[in-house]
């Protein structure tokens, strides 16, 4: 048998990502593997909060994806890997099996990968918070989640045991893809050049449309054709790790070396040392070459052995953020909006609102770049006052939006379209845990 490139595609790049490009990828991608990466820093903590309230701890969109996308992929022999298990991979696997059965898809072997959840073991682990240098218990708020970022090994094992679907929790994003490639090509866990190549493929695909023209258009400098119809990416990965990043024929967007360069550096600190649980990848000497229309070849990535410690994300309940907005337009709008902001600030002081921090922005003037807004920025015709405050109590946070809303009656003339919100804060801190203290395990279901 001659070694051939394997085809691996993206089915989702965040929890609420679009469904229809995933269906298209499953149907026309001719894929060996389809990966759904659905956890952001905060998503997992929120999932844990839902679980603590007896709700589902897995991804809220799991059922939708197992209805619309997964059966299409399974019918074509494509295997599914995802972190949609979030705070409850076993619960996710149960639900996935049930949803597949409901649609008459039977006999599918589903593995749940657990062991990243450290919440039950926190007392024994004695973790130190990276940001503060202090022990975890010194954090002011209530800890709601603690998950180790685990690597590809458990997923590789599940695929080796015949899983057609693998659902994990806080598996590191690129590891979802790396696991498929390790299984497909039989790469050893310490085959560093290939592990580096696999991490690069995962890193490039895990943000989905960010490598097919999403978040790129800046006309007239950067023009993206048919942006609304852009699709998810896929990679053809050769046994030596050389990969071609591409997209499906007929989808919008584009794949170019410039886009791949932007994405290879995206949210990486040092391009020569991208730290993941599976290895420290070095993208700095990668080759990124055009290989035809919407095809970019990536090679030359290397890696060094994995770090001795795994990152832990810790979610902490830290009170509430209250927010209010109201618009002003026409001549004098800037002065009226500034006056309105000052009224809100004074009212919150008069009411002794116990706020840790208050921010007053003028959207349309300087709300996005704040103090960096240049002097040459033109004056707007209309703008929106935004006031946001952080508080320990919901009562104090609620006062912020209330005081903005009351500008309808008590503020300067012409304030319109007031809106207010209050939301709980789940702040995320990081820590490190020795990797040998995190043990994963697999459990199995069949649809």
């Amino acid at each position: 048998m001659t070694a051939r490139p394997f085809r691996i595609g993206t089915g989702a790049a965040y929890s609420e990502d679009r469904i229809d490009p995933g269906v298209d990828m499953a149907a026309r991608g001719d894929l060996d593997y389809l990966v759904f990466e659905c956890l952001a820093e905060r998503t997992l903590a929120l999932a844990q909060v839902r679980r603590l309230r007896q709700g589902p701890g897995f991804d809220p969109w799991l059922e939708e994806r197992f209805r619309q996308i997964v059966p299409v992929a399974l019918a074509r022999g494509t295997r599914i890997v995802s972190n949609m298990g979030a705070a409850d991979p076993a619960g996710a696997a149960d639900r996935a099996a049930a949803v597949l059965r409901e649609q008459g898809v039977r006999g599918v072997r589903i593995a749940a990968l657990e062991g990243d959840d450290l919440l039950p073991r926190l007392d024994a682990l004695d973790l130190v918070v990276t940001e503060t240098g202090l022990p975890l218990r010194a954090l002011p708020g209530r800890i709601v989640s603690a998950n180790a970022h685990i690597g590809a090994q458990g997923l590789v094992q599940a695929l080796g045991l015949g899983a057609q679907v693998v659902l994990g929790g806080r598996v590191s994003d690129p590891a979802l893809y790396l696991a498929c490639l390790r299984h497909a090509h039989g790469w050893a866990a310490d085959d560093w050049p290939r592990i580096g190549a696999g991490i690069a493929v995962g890193h490039l695909l895990e943000c989905g449309a960010l490598v097919t023209g999403g978040f790129y258009a800046d006309p007239p400098y950067k023009v993206v054709p048919d942006l609304a119809a852009a699709g998810f990416p896929l990679a053809e990965v050769a046994p030596d790790g050389t990969a071609v990043i591409t997209k499906l024929e007929g989808t919008g967007g584009l794949v170019t070396p410039d886009i791949v360069l932007e994405q290879i550096l995206h949210e990486v600190h040092d391009p020569a040392a991208y730290i993941t649980p599976d290895a420290v990848a070095d993208f700095s000497a990668a080759r990124v070459d055009a290989a035809g229309r919407d095809r970019v070849r990536v090679s030359g990535v290397t890696a060094r052995p994995w770090p001795r410690q795994l990152k832990v994300s810790v979610g902490v309940h830290e009170g509430f953020i209250g927010e209010g907005e109201i618009s002003y337009a026409g001549s004098g709008a800037v002065d009226r909006a500034r006056l309105a902001g000052e009224v809100v600030r004074q009212r919150l002081e008069m009411r002794k609102a116990d706020l840790d921090e208050l921010q007053v922005d003028l959207i349309g003037l300087d709300a996005v770049h704040g103090p960096a807004t240049p002097a040459w920025a033109p004056a707007p015709y209309e703008l929106r006052l935004r006031v946001a405050g952080r508080a320990r109590t919901e009562t104090a946070a609620t006062m912020v939006g209330d005081e903005v809303e009351s500008l309808y009656v008590w503020g300067p003339v012409g304030g319109g379209g007031a809106r207010k919100t209050v939301r709980p804060i789940v702040a995320v801190y990081s820590s490190l845990v020795p990797r040998e203290r995190v043990e994963t395990r697999l459990t199995w279901r069949e649809s």
Partner: protein
């Protein structure tokens, strides 16, 4: 000599990493790499951000890729999950840096 905005000769993408923001800066043409390596100093980038970046600015150079990655420490008002800033992820920071002015020795 010609004065241009960075946007004329480079493209960029930004995002978050905890409390820090990252901005990649990639010249369209390799011939501008050495110039940008000279003038895009961390001090100058920090000054351009006018107080938005509370921590240090670190620039990682990847000459083989023809790209820079700029780390803006503590630029997100305490991090994605607790910041009061409107752009919680720092997604719009690439456009801030692309407005820096660059002195070119010749016409672009």
């Amino acid at each position: 000599m010609a004065t241009v905005r960075l946007r004329e000769i480079a493209h960029a993408r930004s995002g978050d990493k905890g409390r820090d923001a990252m901005v990649s800066i990639i010249p369209w043409e390799r011939r501008h790499y050495a110039l940008l390596a000279r003038v895009l100093t961390p001090e100058r980038i920090k000054a351009h951000c006018g107080g938005l970046v509370r921590g240090d600015v670190v620039r990682y150079d990847a000459p083989a890729l023809g790209a820079f990655n700029v780390l803006l420490k503590d630029a997100l008002g305490g991090g994605v999950t607790r910041t009061l800033m409107l752009d919680i992820h720092g997604k719009a920071l690439s456009c801030l840096l692309l407005d820096m002015t660059i002195e070119l020795p010749e016409a672009p």
